[in-house]
């Protein structure tokens, strides 16, 4: 009798495939979520510090002396006459030569530039200014879209399974 019970139990377990011991189905987890990319904002470069050169504009035009100032009103009044700083017929070129000689201990030495070249220099400066400005805007753009004050800054999609 005992062996019959054991045999029945054995057969039962064999044919049921141990389904009596119920197991919960394995949980499937699929996660898709945006991932914030942490971008460390770099230290910005030191601001530009420019020194202004002095331009001399020189021609052979005669210097017209400034009008004398009225001592009462402190305003220029040409009726009172003109200053007498320069000799008669003194030109801007003469003044420039005198100034340069004074600056360089009697030597006449300078770097000259024609009007056309000055225009080129102006164009180049404006071009550099435009480039720096636009590059600055690009920096502002990248900073705005990557700064972590808003979650939408840099989003990647990661699927975890």
């Amino acid at each position: 009798m005992k062996s019959k019970i054991l045999a029945s139990a054995f057969i039962l377990l064999t044919i049921s495939g141990c389904s009596l011991f119920k197991q919960a189905p394995r949980e499937v987890q699929i996660i898709t979520k945006p991932v914030q990319i942490q971008i460390t904002q770099p230290i910005m470069p030191r601001p530009i510090d420019l020194k202004e050169p002095k331009w001399y504009v020189v021609s052979d035009s005669k210097i017209i002396e400034a009008c004398l100032k009225d001592p009462e009103t402190k305003k220029s009044n040409c009726k009172l006459g003109r200053e007498d700083l320069y000799p008669e017929g003194y030109t801007y070129f003469d003044k420039f030569v005198a100034d340069i000689k004074k600056k360089h201990g009697g030597d006449l030495v300078f770097i000259a530039m024609s009007i056309d070249d000055y225009e080129l220099m102006s164009y180049n400066t404006q071009e550099l200014k435009r480039y720096i400005s636009q590059l600055g805007e690009v920096i502002v753009y990248y900073r705005d879209v990557t700064i972590d004050d808003e979650p939408a800054a840099a989003v990647g999609v990661q699927v975890e399974e």
């Binding site: 044919i15 389904s19 919960a24 189905p25 499937v28 987890q29 699929i30 996660i31 898709t32 979520k33 945006p34 904002q41 230290i43 910005m44 470069p45 030191r46 601001p47 530009i48 510090d49 420019l50 202004e52 002095k54 331009w55 001399y56 504009v57 020189v58 021609s59 052979d60 035009s61 210097i63 801007y92 009007i115 000055y118 225009e119 102006s122 164009y123 400066t125 404006q126 071009e127 550099l128 200014k129 435009r130 400005s133 636009q134 600055g136 805007e137 690009v138 920096i139 502002v140 753009y141 900073r143 705005d144 879209v145 808003e150 979650p151 939408a152 800054a153 840099a154 989003v155 999609v157």
Partner: protein
């Protein structure tokens, strides 16, 4: 009869029940994934919107810089600087030096603005 019923239960009902449980789990997982994907799409859309706005500002500002440069250089087209400098060198000298100072100050201000972005 009882054995038949038992066998039917074991071979038909139990597997179906197991499959049903698994399918329930799959449906739950799909729902979860669906919700998360909606959130991800919303985040991506917000990011794209933000980038589009920033790009529009960038384009607008860049256009302004191009216009400013063209306006500045137009001075040379509108005036005969050679003639003016020859006739009134003193006046042109003052303007040339003032303009140089102004443009250098503008460049310094631009660099200061970039430098102070992290402040």
């Amino acid at each position: 009869m009882a054995a038949g019923g038992y066998m039917y239960y074991q071979f038909s009902v139990v597997p179906m029940q197991r499959e049903l449980d698994e399918l329930k789990g799959v449906v739950m997982a799909q729902e979860l994934r669906n919700q998360e994907q909606i959130a991800a799409i919303a985040a991506i859309q917000a990011s794209v919107e933000k980038a589009t706005k920033a790009n529009a500002v960038l384009q607008q500002n860049n256009q302004q810089y191009e216009t400013e440069m063209a306006d500045y250089l137009d001075i040379f087209r509108r005036h005969n600087i050679s003639k003016l400098a020859s006739a009134k060198p003193g006046m042109i000298e003052k303007r040339v030096n003032a303009s140089t100072e102004a443009v250098f100050n503008e460049i310094e201000d631009i660099s200061k603005r970039i430098h102070s972005l992290n402040d």
